[in-house]
Structures are given as structure tokens and as C-alpha cells.
Amino acid sequence: MTQSNVTTSVNTETSNQRNALTRLASIQSLQIALVLLVIFLVFSLLAPTIFPQWSNLRQIVQNVAILAVLGIGMTFVIITAGIDLSVGSVLVFSGVVSAKAMQALGSQGWGTALVGVIVAIGVGLLWGLLNGFLVAKAKVPALIVTLGTLGAALGLAQVITNGVDIRAVPKELSDTVGYGNVWGTTIPLITLIALILVVIFAVVLHKTKFGLHTYAIGSSEEAARRVGVKVDRHLIAVYALSGGLAGFGGILSLSQFGTTAIAGQSQTNLNVIAAVVIGGTSIFGGVGTIFGTMLGLFIPAVLQNGFVIVGLQPFWQQVAVGTVLVAAVFVDQRRRNAATRGASAKAKNSLTALWSKKQ
């Protein structure tokens, strides 16, 4: 009985606070959406016959799919004020174990592929549980825990394979998930799979108690604990989610590249973290949206694609993304300072002002 009372009070308390905060977060989403739109329009003007064509956009959404799956988990983790540096390594490790399992089963057929998918997700979950346990129970900072598992997972992947990539991937997987289209269209199947996961977990984050508790822990772990949120268990679940999604990313990567690509995914963790932060999720926790993360993923992807098409060295992409990243965190800092000064009402006014000026 006391439990339910407590839960209700958390709900009202945090949702009041959250209303103001999500409204502010959505401003950043809006700003990022506009930045993306501007980039899109600039490239469309520069290369009207190439850039805005579906054949080009199709490969952008295809290449972003795996990062999007990882971005979901990372958004949850960062909203709890944590970080998960291990996603790229967990992806590779899960891919390796899954490829080993599929190799043992003969490497072909849908049954084998299904086993591969389950093994990959399972292995990823285990790494996530380990991360979560060390963060929540052993109280080791998330940065250190996941830096450790980053190295450990990659190292073990190399131990298992002697560093030699496994290239035995069922043809069924690479022909459908890897390079196939949704039946009757030219939409890449891998993009649809990622999109479904994004929608499911966006609902989980924004519409369920699980999501609410994620925000509550990120806003104040101590406050969440005092009002009865099972913080440790929740943190373990959030890291397990990130690990499980990375494991699923492993099977997607196997399907797409046809190899475990052990040497690959070296920058994946940083790219995903950058996308989450550009998308308006606060690195200090408590604020963030899955939609923002998706926008944050497209900025580097569109920039790189556009730069290649207009014939500029893609090094410029890193400069541009770096600029946007720092600007995004700067805006977040401003917002936090305003919030601690209790200026959320004023901030709301400024939104109105911004909006009316825009029109």
C-alpha cells in the first residue's frame, strides 16, 4: 500500500518537473531538426541531381541503421547519467560468438540464422548485465566499467578467433537483413528493423513506468531511491538493454558485412555517444529523447555523404560534427544553469520569443 502511494507521488513530482524539462528538450530537438534541414537543403542545392535522390537517401538510412539500434540503448544509459563505452566491442564480441555458433551448425539455413540472432542478443545481454552490476552494485564509475569491458570484450573476441575474422554468415541473413529490401519496395530491410526497435523503445522511454524511472534516476539518483525506485535493479536493466541491443547490432553487422570485422567498429561508441548528445540528451542525465538521438545520428551521416558528393575530403565532416557537438552541449549547459536558477518560466517565454521571431 505504501509502495503504491510512493509511486504515485513520484509520478506527479517528476512529471511536473519533466513537463518543463521535456518541453525544453524538445526545443533542442527542434533546433537540431532545423540544423539537419539546413544541411539537407544546402547539399540539395549543391547537387540537386544526386543528393536528394532516393537512391542516395536510401544508402544513408541503410548505413545509419546499426548505429540507430545502438543509439537506443545509449540514450537510456545517458539519461540515467551513465555512459556505455563498450557498445562497439560488445557488438564485435556478440558477432564473433554468434558466427562461431552458426559455423558449428553448418552456416546455412534460417534455423541457423535464428540461433545466431538469439546467441548474439544473449551474449550482448550478458555483457550489459556485467556492466550494470558493476555500476549499480560495485559502485565503479560507469566510464571506468565500460572502458574495462570495451577492452575485455574486444580482447576476448580476438582470443576466440585468434584475430582472424570469421566469414561464415548464412546467405539467408546477408540476402535479406544485410542487403535486402522490404518486400515490394526499395526500403532497406535493415532500416525497417531498426525503425521498429526505435519506435518500440521510444514508447518504452516516454510512455511507461520503466522510462519514467530512467528519467528519475538521471535527475537525482538519491531522490529516486528515497521515493522507492529500485535504483540498482533499474540501472542493471538499463545497461543490460544497451548490451542486448549491441548484441543485436552484432548480428546486423554480420549480415551487412559478411564478416565479424573485428578490426572495425573502432569509433562506433564515440559516434553513438556524439549522436545522443547532439540530439539533446543531457550528458548529466535526466533529459533526453530517442527522436533527438535519431536526428543526432543523421547529422554526421548526411554531412559525410554530402561532402563526398560535392567532392570534399571527408575530414571536414569531423570538423563540422565536432562543432555541432560542442554547440549542443553548450546549449544544454545554459539550460541547466537556467533551470537551477528556477528560470524555467522565463525559458518558456524565450521559446515563444524565438518562435515568433522565426515567423
Binding site: N162, I262, A263, G264, Q265, Q304, R334, K346
Partner: protein
């Protein structure tokens, strides 16, 4: 407060727009304008900013100038097929007439390049290759197996009595280095006076290679020869030998001839270099692309040779084989 936020937002958009505009300013000078039958080529390096690929780029640009075709060079900052694939996809979307590429992985890069060939783009594989490259117009690379043999011969010349030898590789699954290792292994196993200690993978990172060499020398202090498979492995191996204080007793023979390797050769840390001819690979690649675009017949597979560089010839006949860091 509010004007600040507004400002940040506008600055961000401004910065992106400015960058994008500067992006368009750069290529338009040598790009778009031209006769209707002018060919556009894109050269995708295996790794941006590495002397081997820069030298190849020099060869590509020189030949392109000579033949009057446009060429645009792209490359990812790391040797990583997960970074190279989106790059290739974007290049394919820009619809060049031909792509010259050094693929990062024999399996992972196959499907994207097949897609390029299916889109009607001539694909020329330079340096590295992929599994079943039947879609490619031409393949131009060093005779890497022969290069491995040459590397062993160089070690043998330096250590006529034999002993323990080690290979410092980069990553498994790279067609060129796999062939070099195969060539070296074949030769070392045929010679009873040498004991082969296997390959250590340095992940194309000099710091990693130095650590591996240190550890290997701790385990087997009597190693007489190290065959380093490329520039990064060689730089790291030289550092590792020096850290262990083994200069002179361990002979390092390196594939490739970058500036740092040549310096190490002069300093006596590396004893011999097996130089490839990247500029020749690049110019042959452009020539093959242009011939194919004009409908002429093209040699499907071309292999280029090597030059072994030592202190004896580095300032004379070997001079032209040193890789460049800018054209």
C-alpha cells in the same frame, strides 16, 4: 539568456552552412566545367594520410593530368571496413565514371563494390582486392607473394647462419598482407636453418607493434630477424627493437619505404626495405580506367614489382622508390 540561446542556434546553423559552402567552393574550380566526354574518376584510398596511398595518389593525379580526366580522392581516417563502406556508398551515389579503390576487407567490401559495378561504374581494384573480384574491370597490385619471398631473402642475406624470425602483421583478412605473409612463410619453412615464430597482429598501430616486439624479445631474446609487413608495423618494430636495446643484433626488414622507414634505415635500426611501386599502381589504375571507359581492351590483372633498398643503394638507384608525403 534568451538572446544567447538564439545566438548559439544561429551560429551553429551558420557554421554548418559556411562549411558546406566552402565545401562547394573547393572542387568547382577543377570539377564540373569540361567537355561532355570528359571522364570523372574517384580514387578511394585504403587509408587517408598514409605515405603509401599518398604516393599512389600522386601517381593517380599525374596520370589523370596526362590523360585529361578529372580525379577526386577520398579516404577514411582509419583502416576499417565499417567506415569505408558508407564512403563507397556515397561515392557511388555521386556517379563517377570509374572508381579506383583499395578495399579494406576482402568480404565486407565485396557487396558495396559489386553494387557500384552494377550501377555501371568501372571498378578498378588497386593494391588490395576482394573475394571473387569478377565484377572489377581491372586489378593492379604488387606481386605480394613475391614480396614476401623478397623479404625473406633479405633477412637471409643479413643472417646467413639462420635463427628465429618473427612477422609483425597488421590485421588478418587483408589480401595484400596475407599474401606477403604466405610468401614469407613458404620461404622460411623451406629453410631448415630458420625457426619461424609466427605472426603477431599489430592492428596497423605502431604503438601496438612496438609492444608486441618488446614482448616477443622478452620471450625469445635470440630473435635474429623481424619482417614487418607495412609502414606502421615497421615503425613500431623499429621502436620496439630500440626500446629493448637490441639494435644491431635484431635485423628488421620492412615492407614499404616511407620517410620514417628510410630514416630508420639510415640510422641502422632497419636493415632493409622492400619497396613497392605505389605511384606506378596508381598511374596504371587510371590508365586502365580510361581505356575501359573508351571501350578499349584492358589487362584484367597487373602485378607490379619491388625494389629492395639498403644503405648501399638508398642514395643512388633506390632514391626514386622512396614514398612521398606530398606530391
Amino acid at each position: 539568456m534568451k538572446s544567447n540561446r538564439h545566438l548559439v542556434f544561429l551560429t551553429t546553423i551558420g557554421a554548418v552552412a559556411a562549411l558546406s559552402l566552402s565545401a562547394c567552393a573547393a572542387p568547382s574550380g577543377d570539377g564540373s566545367v569540361g567537355e561532355p566526354d570528359e571522364f570523372n574518376l574517384t580514387f578511394i584510398q585504403g587509408l587517408a594520410g598514409e605515405e603509401f596511398y599518398i604516393t599512389m595518389q600522386c601517381g593517380v593525379e599525374a596520370e589523370a593530368n596526362k590523360l585529361g580526366v578529372n580525379v577526386n580522392t577520398q579516404g577514411a581516417a582509419k583502416w576499417d571496413s565499417t567506415l569505408q563502406k558508407p564512403l563507397v556508398d556515397s561515392v557511388v551515389a555521386s556517379k563517377p565514371d570509374a572508381i579506383l579503390i583499395a578495399p579494406n576487407d576482402v568480404t565486407a567490401m565485396r557487396a558495396p563494390l559489386q553494387a557500384a559495378a552494377d550501377a555501371g561504374i568501372k571498378v578498378i581494384l588497386v593494391d588490395t582486392t576482394v573475394e571473387d573480384p569478377s565484377f572489377a574491370t581491372a586489378e593492379i597490385s604488387s606481386d605480394n607473394t613475391g614480396g614476401g619471398l623478397a623479404g625473406f631473402d633479405a633477412i637471409k642475406e643479413l643472417n646467413p647462419d639462420g635463427g628465429k624470425v618473427l612477422i609483425i602483421g597488421t590485421d588478418p583478412g587483408v589480401s595484400t598482407t596475407d599474401a606477403r605473409i604466405a610468401g614469407f612463410e613458404e620461404a622460411v619453412k623451406a629453410d631448415d636453418s630458420f625457426e619461424y615464430l609466427g605472426v603477431q597482429w599489430s592492428r596497423n598501430d605502431p604503438a601496438e607493434a612496438a609492444k608486441l616486439v618488446n614482448a616477443a624479445l622478452a620471450k625469445d631474446p635470440d630473435i635474429v630477424g623481424i619482417f614487418a609487413i607495412n609502414i606502421n608495423a615497421a615503425e613500431g618494430s623499429a621502436t620496439g627493437v630500440r626500446q629493448a636495446g637490441k639494435e644491431g643484433s635484431v635485423n628488421v626488414v620492412s615492407f614499404d619505404a616511407g620517410a620514417a622507414q628510410v630514416q630508420a634505415l639510415r640510422d641502422g635500426i632497419i636493415q632493409a626495405l622492400v619497396a613497392q611501386q605505389p605511384a606506378l599502381i596508381g598511374s596504371e589504375g587510371v590508365a586502365a580506367a580510361v581505356s575501359a571507359l573508351k571501350g578499349e581492351s584492358v589487362e584484367k590483372k597487373t602485378q607490379t614489382g619491388f625494389q629492395v633498398l639498403t644503405l648501399d643503394n638508398i642514395d643512388t638507384t633506390g632514391q626514386d622508390y622512396i614514398y612521398k608525403s606530398s606530391c
